[in-house]
């Protein structure tokens, strides 16, 4: 259990849960492959990813014990 992945908003409908624990993935490309295999509905979803509360890109490295947040388009207010 090296990573925590959190889902927000409508993504929780696609995954059926708000958080999963994953073994380590070195970058987001690899992480998304793992997630898409477990939650195929995520593939069609729009979202941005934050690593430890910082917005990340596909090539961002993932530190040990990181908290990863998958966030769909915001709709506050």
């Amino acid at each position: 259990m090296a990573l925590e992945v959190q889902f927000f908003g409508q993504l929780t409908d696609k995954t059926g849960k708000s958080t999963v624990q994953l073994n380590h993935a070195t970058n987001l490309i690899q992480l998304k492959e793992i997630l898409f295999k477990e939650f195929p509905l995520l593939k069609e979803s729009k979202f941005v990813i934050a690593i430890n509360n910082k917005m990340a890109t596909d090539t961002s490295e993932i530190p040990e014990h990181a908290v990863i947040a998958l966030m769909p388009p915001f709709s506050g207010g």
């Binding site: 927000f8 908003g9 709709s75 506050g76 207010g77």
Partner: protein, 144 residues
């Protein structure tokens, strides 16, 4: 760094807004306040009526982003103060879910700062609204 909490559980009561306004009576350099209030609409979508919106957030990230927005608006506009409050959890149609309050010596500054703040909150804060239908069902809110 201690981040200011903008979130409150449930709707924002009008009396809370009055208290916030009253607190500014001692700041006699202020000439104008601008207040934006978001209210939950009872929209009808394909025959189903929204009776409430349930808000969730990535709270820690939202507070960090709000801090960043606050800093940049204070840098850009000569405002005396700025207060932001956003609901979490269920807010019924007709109730208030967002309260943005800016004050300045001059009215235009207060109005512009408030408007920019509202736009940025809607676009940049990781907050999600789930529109709950009367009877059953829901849909996820989309910001325009």
């Amino acid at each position: 760094m201690q981040l200011k909490n903008i979130f409150m559980e449930g709707s924002i009561p009008p009396s809370f807004i009055a208290d916030s306004i009253a607190k500014h009576a001692s700041k006699t350099g202020i000439g104008g306040h601008n207040i934006f209030l978001g209210q939950v609409r009872a929209d009808e979508i394909e025959g189903k009526k929204v009776f409430a919106i349930e808000y969730t957030s990535n709270i820690e990230m939202a507070l960090e982003k709000m801090h960043e927005i606050r800093e940049s608006i204070f840098a850009k506009y000569e405002i005396t103060c700025m207060h932001v409050h956003h609901s979490l959890g269920k807010v019924n149609a007709g109730e208030l879910c967002l309260f943005v309050f800016t004050s300045s010596k001059h009215r235009k500054v207060a109005i512009d700062a408030c408007t920019e703040c509202v736009e940025r909150i809607k676009a940049e804060l990781p907050v999600w609204g789930k529109e709950l239908f009367e009877g059953e069902g829901y849909q996820w809110k989309v910001n325009s």
